[in-house]
Structures are given as structure tokens and as C-alpha cells.
Amino acid sequence: MKKGFLIILFCGLFLFIGTAIHAQEPIVIGVPTSLGFLEGKESYKAVQLAVEEINSAGGVKLQGKMRPFKVEALDIRDAAPGVPVPEALLGLEKIILEKRPAAIVVGPFRSEALLAGMDIIAKYRVPMLGTIAMTPLSEKKIKENPEKYRYIFRVSLNVIYWAKLLAGTMEKLRKEFGFNKVYLMNQDVLWARGTANAMKKRYFLKTGWEVLGHDQFPTGFSDFSSSLMKAKAKGAEVLFTCFDMPQSGVLVKQWKSMKVPALIAGFISPMAGQAAWNTFEKKIGGILNAVFEIGNIPCERYEPSKRFYEAYLKKFGQGIQSGHGPAPSYEAVYILKDAIEKANSLDPDSLVSAIEATDRIGVMGRIRFDKGHQVIYGKDPKEAALNCFFQWTEDGKRRVIYPDSIAEGKIFLPSWVKGKK
């Protein structure tokens, strides 16, 4: 009888303690983005990974109590063709009103949706750490009206840093191989069109490159033979590419089968992940592809990026396939945790001030924000966040080749591409 009473007492106590731990109200993080697209899907996974790590380490310290994070995601489909921006914004508003998140991470996928959504974020005063949309116009709006738009931050790369990465790599190609004839090919969407046009006007034409042609392809286009033949006939040495559609993988297959004697360098999203090696039947050796933020690719010379990549691989059974989004999404959760603990409050204005003061070493390098609430990118992980260029080797490895601070080797040319030096 006495023994039975003790067991019941023990169980009751256990249940009480357990309930008390879980009774701490979770801090909700909203993830409204295009979950049906690779960057959105993997960014959401990266958020889940960070939240799981933080929760298993005890949670977030707020006013003397440890509170867990809870993620609420919503597919706002802003990247899907034919989905109007207002419809995507309804999703953004819905998650804010229904889930009452303390902050939003990842956020809109397309820049058009980000710009239009800034007023909603400002209206409800929810701090947002964006990790996909790249337009610098959001920074301009923040600088012009800091009181209204101060809740919006970007952890990922913006178009300006993106252009610097591309220009830096092109300069390296020119110096190392003497290349100066380029053919531009890009998808006809805002970011890719902007990138290609900016590179043409502000880099290639100003630095003595000869631009032999510039073709833009609508989303879904899948036969690049015409452009490749034009590039071949005109003697292009570099094919500058900018694509985020799955069909762009066809371009690489055609480049290889048609033996176009020009080096592909730029961004082709299907080429970014390790799975591309098998997907494209081990025929992508030599291609230079950009990664928007390190951590999306493990860099041998920057340990935190490797640790994050391996943790992601371990949890989800497959490495990161997108070149843009997951690493800053993971980082955003830690930035938010630090800010909540520093502000010791969930008040949006206090959180914003704490986020503005962020200075931490993360998976992408050193994280600090500028006045436009954009993370500062540079070439040394001790000083700034990093992006990089890698090259597929002939044995299926992704070797970082730029910037020099994390480069793992030199650029090589495929057998049918000849350098001038």
C-alpha cells in the first residue's frame, strides 16, 4: 500500500515537473516563403535545424526563464509563376495575424514580394530577418524611412555584393587565362536580368571585355543550342550565366555535348549542390558556379561552415542543394536568439535595436549589419560574411576557388577550352 502510494506520488511529481518545463510559452518564429521551391524548402529546414539545436540546449533565456522556439511555416508561393504579389502578401499577413510570431525569418522569395511586403511588416511591427530576396531597393527604403522600415533586415546576400563576387571572379579569369570575350546568358526574371545587365554595363564594358552577345531566356526554356552555337561561332571564351530554373541544367549538358570552347562561369542553380554530380551524369567538371553564402557549401578553410553543412547532412540525410538561403536562415535564428537574450524582451523595437548591434562569428563568417540593415559581406571570414565561387573538379568535388582567403585550389580549364596565357 505504502509502496503504491510512493509510486503514484513519484509519477505525479514527474508529470508536474515535466508539464512545468513544457508549459513555458514558446517563442514563435514565422517562416512565410515559397516552400515549394528548393531555396525556400531548404531554408525552412535550416531554420528547423537551428531551432532544434537551440531548444535541445535549453532554449532562449528571456526574463530569467528558458523558453523554446517554435516554428510556424506558411507557403506564400510568391516564387511560383502566375502567383500575383498581392496573393503572396495575403499569406504574409495571415501568418502574422494568426500565429503572432515574435519575428519572421526567411521571408518573401521574390524581390517584388519583399518590396510590397515591407509595408505589412512595418504595419504590424514584426522584425524580419530575410534570407532569400536580394533587391537593394529594400535597403534604400530603409535608409529613406528608418522609423517605418526598421524592422526589416537581410542576412543573405544582396545584388550589390553578388555583383562584386561575380566581378571579382571574372577579373581572376582575365588575369589567370587572359580571357576577354564573353557571351551573356540569363533567365528573364528580375534578379537575373538585373545581374546580367549590371555586369555588362558596370563591369564587362568598363574593363575592356568584348561582349559578343546577350541572350535572355524565359522561365521554362529548355533548348540552348542556338545561343551556344552563336557563342561558339563568335569565339566566346567565357559564358556568363545567371539562372535559377531547373531547365538550366540542360544548358550544361548541351555545352558539354556541343563542346563549346568557352568556360561556363556564373550561377546555374541546379549545379550548386553535391547531388548535381550524379544528376548530370558526372559531366559537369570544369564549371564555375557561385554560392551566395558559404555554409551552403562546406569550405575546408572555414570550419563553422563545415560544421553547419555536416549537421544539416546528418539531420536530413542529404546535403544542401541550393546555393542561396539555408546558411543565412540558420544564422538568422541564432541572431534572433542573441537579440532576444540581449534585449531581454520580445518588444519589436527593443529586438530591432539588439539585432542592429549584432556582431557574431557564424557559419558564413562575421555577422554585422550596415545602416540599410544588410549583413556586410567581404572577402575574409574574420571581418565579414562570405560568398564564394567553386569549380566542379573532374572527379566530382566542389573546390572553392574564390575568394582567396578560403580558396582550396586553382582554376583549371576543361580539355576543350584553351586559355590565352
Binding site: 541572350d215 521554362g220 529548355s222 542556338s226 552555337m229 548541351q254 555535348s257 556541343m258 548535381a276 544528376t279
Partner: protein, 290 residues
């Protein structure tokens, strides 16, 4: 440059005919505009990918199973849905379109998002025709397209089942009075259309990756070719494929790649204004004359 556009235009035309043949066959026989056609194309691609990569079957078996299962899906589509609404054109279009979207969105729901879904090419080589290099997969697409068109002609002209197909296509009531089971033949036509979509997927998808979004493009291309050629006319479909295929290629070479996607839509609009039954269509010819 001209030789390149001629060769790649030819390949592009055959790709369009491969895509449209199944859609056209189903419409020609049963009168059903199967708007789930693009979804069946993608279904075949993913099934083949699963059989080959996840289950580890030999590629040939993976192909056979995926074509067979897609054909069965077509059969089920007819018996479970279309049989009840046959003859109500708008209902058929809405039902098949809804099923198509559901199938495609289900793939997304189950995580088929990303770039790793790709089928291997049959022969990993390239050949030179003049100064134009072309990969063997494209050559095989041309060969497959030609063989399929010939087999389809033999089937519809020299087999009992094929003759029943044509009988239903010509006049369903008369065919019924001669003892041809129109429901059975119509269901087989949907199934065969699905199988043709699967064959097209198996030969075309190795050129790139399998993505849910391409299901919609396939449907638009099939519709464009069939509307321009004339719904139900196989000869018209092949002619329209070459018309649109070469128009796309020459647009890419001599104008801008940017305008290529507009070509099928312009073709649809133009033909609807000039000759709504299509170049070789017979379905509305009488109404047009009136």
C-alpha cells in the same frame, strides 16, 4: 548557323510531335480533352526515376514499369472519373485539369522539389553533322518519334483494335450499332494516350531534369500543336509540330530567345482567328462553313 537551326529545329519539331501525339490520340478517339496529360507525363518521369534510383531496378525494367503504370493511371482516370461525365465537355476539361493539378501538387507535397531528379541518357555520345554537333539522345528522340508515328499508323490502320479506334472516331453511334464497345475503346484510348505521354517523357526527360512545373509546359505545348494542327488529326499534329518547332528555332536564332515561349501562344491565337478547327481539323468544319 542555318544548318544548326535546321537540325535543332527538326529535333524540336519531333519533340513537339512526341508530346502531342498522346493528347491528340485520346481526343481523336474518345473526344476527351485530357488536361491531366502534363501530369501523366511527369508521373511517368518520376515513376521511372523512383524505380531506377530508389528501388534500383535495371533502367529497361524501370522504363517498362513506368510506361505500364502510367497507362493504368489513364485507364483508372477514365473508369473512375471520365465515364460519369463523358460528353459534358466543360466537365471533362475541369475534371481532368483538376486531377492534373492535384497530381502535380502531390509530387510537391511529397518533396519532389529540387534538381536531383534526372533520367540517364541512353547513349552518352555526340555526333557531328557538318559543323553541327548534336548529342545522341536527340538523335534517339528523332528515331523514336519517327518509329512511334509509323507504329501508330500501322496500329490504327492494320489491327482490329486500331480499326475499332477509328470506327469510334469516325462515328460513335454507327460503331456501337456494329457491336464496338465504345466505352471500352474510349478507355483504351485514354490509356494509350497516357502510355504515349510516358514514352515521350522517357525519351525527352534525359535532356534535362524532371520538375513538376514542366507538366504545365507540356500541356500547353500539346494543346498548341493539337489546336494548330486540328484536334483529332494525326497528320495535322505532325505538320503543326514542324510549323511551331521551326518557328521556335528560327525565333531563337534570328530574333531573340526571349520570344520563343510566345510562339505557341501566338500560333494558337492566330489559328483560332483564321481557322478555328485547325489546319487539318474536321470537328468544326461544318460550323465554320455555316
Amino acid at each position: 548557323m542555318l544548318l544548326t537551326s535546321i537540325i535543332y529545329g527538326f529535333v524540336n519539331s519531333i519533340i513537339l510531335s512526341l508530346i502531342a501525339l498522346g493528347f491528340n490520340l485520346t481526343f481523336g478517339i474518345s473526344g476527351v480533352a485530357n488536361f491531366a496529360y502534363g501530369a501523366l507525363y511527369i508521373l511517368a518521369g518520376f515513376l521511372c526515376w523512383i524505380f531506377f534510383n530508389t528501388i534500383g531496378l535495371p533502367y529497361v525494367l524501370a522504363i517498362l514499369f513506368s510506361v505500364f503504370l502510367t497507362a493504368i493511371s489513364g485507364l483508372l482516370l477514365y473508369h473512375l472519373v471520365l465515364l460519369r461525365i463523358r460528353g459534358m465537355v466543360l466537365a471533362e476539361v475541369i475534371a481532368t485539369f483538376a486531377i492534373g493539378i492535384s497530381v502535380l501538387e502531390l509530387f510537391k507535397y511529397f518533396g519532389f522539389i529540387g534538381f536531383e531528379y534526372s533520367l540517364p541518357v541512353f547513349i552518352d555520345k555526340s555526333i557531328d553533322i557538318g559543323n553541327v554537333t548534336i548529342d545522341m539522345q536527340r538523335v534517339l528522340i528523332v528515331i523514336s518519334g519517327l518509329i512511334l508515328a509509323i507504329l501508330l499508323w500501322i496500329f490504327t490502320h492494320h489491327t482490329r483494335l486500331g480499326l475499332r479506334f477509328r470506327g469510334i472516331a469516325q462515328n460513335e453511334r454507327t460503331a456501337l450499332s456494329l457491336g464496338i464497345n465504345s466505352d471500352l475503346v474510349a478507355s483504351l484510348s485514354v490509356s494509350l494516350g497516357a502510355a504515349l505521354a510516358a514514352i515521350a517523357a522517357i525519351v525527352i526527360l534525359p535532356l534535362g531534369t524532371i520538375t513538376v512545373e514542366s507538366g504545365y509546359d507540356v500541356l500547353i505545348n500539346a494543346l498548341a500543336v493539337c489546336i494548330v494542327g486540328g484536334l483529332g488529326s494525326t497528320g495535322g499534329v505532325i505538320f503543326a509540330s514542324f510549323l511551331i518547332g521551326y518557328a521556335e528555332s528560327f525565333t531563337a536564332y534570328y530574333l531573340e530567345s526571349h520570344w520563343v515561349m510566345v510562339v505557341p501562344l501566338v500560333a494558337i491565337l492566330s489559328i483560332l482567328v483564321i481557322k478555328p478547327s485547325g489546319l487539318f481539323g474536321v470537328h468544326k468544319e461544318l460550323e465554320e462553313r455555316i
